[in-house]
Structure formats: C-alpha cells, structure tokens
Subunit: 331 residues, 2 copies
Amino acid sequence: MVTIADVAKHAGVAPSTVSYVLTGKRSISPRTRSRVRESIRQLGYHPHAGARAFAGNRANVVALVLPLRPGVHLPAQMRIVTSVVTAARRHDMDVLIMTADQGAEGLRRVAAGARADGFLVMDVELDDVRVPPLREMPQPSVLIGRPAAAKGLVCVDLDFEAAGARCVEHLVGLGHRHVGFLGAPSVVYQRNTGYAQRTMAGFGAAAMRRGIASTALPAEDDYESVLGALRALLRAQPAMTGLVVHNEAALGWVVAGLRALGRKVPEDVAVVAICPDEYAEQRQLTSVQLPAEELGRRAVELLAARLAGVPAPALTLLAPKLSSRASSVPR
Amino acid sequence: MVTIADVAKHAGVAPSTVSYVLTGKRSISPRTRSRVRESIRQLGYHPHAGARAFAGNRANVVALVLPLRPGVHLPAQMRIVTSVVTAARRHDMDVLIMTADQGAEGLRRVAAGARADGFLVMDVELDDVRVPPLREMPQPSVLIGRPAAAKGLVCVDLDFEAAGARCVEHLVGLGHRHVGFLGAPSVVYQRNTGYAQRTMAGFGAAAMRRGIASTALPAEDDYESVLGALRALLRAQPAMTGLVVHNEAALGWVVAGLRALGRKVPEDVAVVAICPDEYAEQRQLTSVQLPAEELGRRAVELLAARLAGVPAPALTLLAPKLSSRASSVPR
DNA sequence: GTGAAAGCGCTAACAG
DNA sequence: CTGTTAGCGCTTTCAC
C-alpha cells in the first residue's frame, strides 16, 4: 500500500506538506505543489479513508436516512438519493444509507461512533421518531420535509403553500374564475399531515386574494368517491372551469369522472395536478412537481455549510415549478 | 468522548480486553465479560468507527453499487437495498451507496482508500463497465446478476432457466398440454440479454422434457404487437391453453388481447407471468417473482463469508418461487 | 513556505 | 484467561 510517507519521500518533502497539498489548508509554493501532485499521480496514491477519518476527526461521510414508510413514491425518492450522492461527492463526501428498521438506535450508533459527519433525513413526518435522536447528537442534520416540532432543526421542503397558490395563479391567468380543489382522503387531513394542509391553505388563500370563488373537497382513492366529490364540487359551483388535484391516487379517475359528469378536459374544465412529474407527463397533465433533484442537492449543501461552520437557515422552501401541459387551456 | 481506555479503567481491565469482549476474537471469562459489558453500558461507550477501521484494517462497510440504468424496476431495487442494509447490519457492517455516475473511477477511489471492505454490485449487465475495476481491486465483490465474463467473480442471481421451467411444470401440473411463451421485445434477445435467453431456454427445455408442444415469440411493448404475437401463437397452436409471459410491459395487454381473440383467462387460457410480485398481485396473475429480499441477503452473506476468508461459490442461483393466483386453473 | 513530531482510539502480536 | 505495547496513516500543532 502506498502511504503519504511514500509520496513525501518520492517528492522530497515532508508528509505534512503532502497533507497540506491535499487539503489546501495552508499555502504551498506552486513548485512544491506540482511536484507533490506529480508524485501522487505517479504512485497512484489514494489517502486511506480510515486513517483520514481518524486523524482528522472527519469521516467525510453523510448518513442518508431513508423514509420510514417504503413506497410512498419510489421514483421521486430514488431521484433524491441520486442527487444526494452526486452533491455529496462534490463536497468530497460519501453517502451511508440507513433504513427505517435501524430506527433511532441506529442513528445513535452511527452518531456516537462518528461514522458519519452529519445526517440527511428523507421524507420527514410530522411526528417523526427519528427527530428526537437527531437533537441529541453532536453532528448536524438536515431534514427533507417538516416535522411538527422543527425548532432548532434545519429543514428543506417544497413550498406546498406556494404550490397550491401557483395552481390558482395559473388557472386565473388562463381566465378561469371558478376553481375547485380535489384533495387527499379526509384521513390525511385528520392526521394533520403538514404538506396536505398547507397546499390546501395556499390554494384557498390565493383564490381569496384573486377574489374568485373556490371550493375544496377531500376524495378517497376510488372512482366512486372521486366521482362523488367532483359532483359535489360542481353542485357547489356549477360554473367551475378549473380544478386543482392534490391526490395522486385519484388522478387516474378525475378525467373519466369529469367526463361522466358531462365535462371534457380541458375544454370544459382545466385540470392542474400537484404530483410527481412522471404521473403528470404520462397523462399530459399541467402540474406542479416535486423538485427531487433540487431537494437532495440543497439538503447536502446546507449540511456541508453547517459542517464548515456556516449557520444554515432553519427552513428552506423551494419555489414550486409549474409545467403547462394539455390539461389546461385558456377559457 | 468516551474511549476504550475509559471503559477499561472503569471495568478494571486492560483496553485490549475490552476490545476482545467487543470483537469476540478471543475467549474471555464470563465474569470479566459481564463486567466490561456493564461498564460499556454505563458509560454509553460506542467504538469510534474511524479508529476501528484504521487499526483493524476493516472499515466494516460494504459498498452497494446501484444499477447503471435507473428505473428498471424501482420497487424490486428498493427491496434489494433494504435487505442488503438489514443483512449487512447483522454482520456489523454499514452500507455505502454509490450511484452509476460515479462509475469505474468511483469504485477505484473507494477501493484504494479502503473506504469499504467489499462491493455489492446490483443489476449487473452482460457487458458491465463496472466489472473490470472489480477484478483489479483487493477487496472482494459479489454481483447481483451475471455478466458475460463471470470468470473469477462471485455472482448471485435468480435461476431464470429454472423459472421458465417452473412455469411449464405448473401448467403441465394443471393438465395443460399446449403452451406458449410470450417474451420480451426481440431487441432484448438480439443484444444477448442473459436472463431473457435463459428463461426462454428453460421454458423450451421443460416442455421438451414433458413431451408437450411449445411455441415462443417475442413481443413489443404495445397492444398491437402483443395482439399480433398472441394471434401468431394461437395460429401455431390452436389448442394452446397455457401461456407464459416474460414481458412486464406486455402484461397489461395480454388478458385483453386474449379476450379480443376469443379466449378468456383463465377458463380458456391459463396465464403465468415472470415478473415483480406487485404486478402479479395487483392483476391476480399466477407468477414467478424476483426474490429481491433473498437476493440482497444472500449477496451480503457471500460477501461476509469472503471477508471472513471462506471461499464463496462462483455462482449462486436462487430457486424460483411460483405463486398460484387466479390466472391459472386446471383444464 | 516547509519540517518534525505528537498523537487520534483501536487492534493484535507478544508475553505471561 | 488477561495485560502490555507497538503501531496503523494521517492531521495538526509547534518550530523554524
């Protein structure tokens, strides 16, 4: 194995100099630097990660804690994972994955053993069991999502409130004056799911600001329920020409349901969805998507900043991006 | 920070004794062991991962290399990831993830830096760019899948040949004497995709062994193509009452296609699929699934064995498991 | 701008 | 069955 001492000897410098060339933690004359670089290259030297972690008190590892419930939306999750890994590499860090079953105990083990320098927690729930251990450990963490008690934590999330509002703005921009909101199953709101409530609130507030009529209803995941909700929305607002849907499972039934009620999409009713991009693209729905790549990247950057001693904002909300597709046209 | 020396002092033993209690690498009297254990508990000691990796020449980390092409079948992949993490923990190892974009270079970096003790490579392709670096590095690796040149490598895979045969056995067991095989798009066979070819070969061989008639055809991913292939299969064998489908994308069209040709499933034609379990369950299809959990677990165990110096078999083939559902009935 | 040297916390060989 | 001790390869003071 080729060590830093070998490189030092080969380059005719001290080991510390090689170290400093590598870390850039003190200035090195260009001549020395290039000589060291050349030796590193010639000898094929790669610093030993263990030794480095040990001496430097930095593992150069970020632990990525996967969602508690599997399968929420796998493609989006995978994209977050990928973007986290890519972003982490830019900061010279590798990514350790932890799964739900490792729980709080696993977090403590990894933290206490200094196996990771920081934690990234995906798909955080309002009352998340992983939050308490995060508060106790010396390493910083960044949450993707927003727990109920976020005090003292650093979170990144899509700005769901703005997402709801953005949909209204889009519809208003197209000339619609009566809009509806088809939400998640009522149980989702009952259990205080943060993002669902915020989306609806954003929708309602935007409609109020624009001075237009709005109605909102939850819907279960079956055709009957969706049809019933659509019927109720149309009864409340017979002139409804714009519909915002925040319910992935219902998306499949919405167009058919509207059709059954005598409304064609997009001629009679413009539909805007808030859902993963694949869903929307496949069905050609105008939509606000979950910015998976950016979520992952920003989370890593916030963590890297904290590791570098730069304080991070408690909450980073990503602006929603609306993609206009075939399901919404001017009225 | 609480170190091994603190524990040793607290328990009134030497640091090495604590180490041996932890690793179990030499016998310790029950009294000493329990005293040390108690001190560890009281002091809340967790060994420093970096120091351990450094001194022991063991990072206790396995690198999991994700598939090159994303999205092949995410649920199955996620299940493999989860089972790998779970199994790795049983061997006191954590899991580092590497994504496709890190490529061969990333593998070399992680290997040379001794960041991981071994590599697990998912979804290996016949001519996989990740294979050459694996051969050069000192750490052992286990591949999930089978590359063309597997010489000297350790692989785990579903026994696709047996899977094809198993479907035939199932149909024959139900009394079917004329069976068809609807395969992947022809391009898949053209590019020598190992598992596709092996599945078909297993299907054909089993039919031969049982002395029954069989016909096989590829099918593209659209309804027209599936319908055409089904029509051709029925023309070749008008008495066909059993169909094996190895084409996820086509699955959605098969039942409708058979219906359009006047055959009801399962009364007229029994259908057996080779596909991820979710697909089959959702559509109530009899199927042979990809044993994701077992694949991950076995891969870890093989790697752990190699790390412990036990030579591993070059190829571990997992027996296919058939789940009988509504799409296949006795004739 | 560079070198020398002291550990970091743990493991494993050596000794008893 | 247990204690003593010598590093592992790197970072980081301290010194020049």
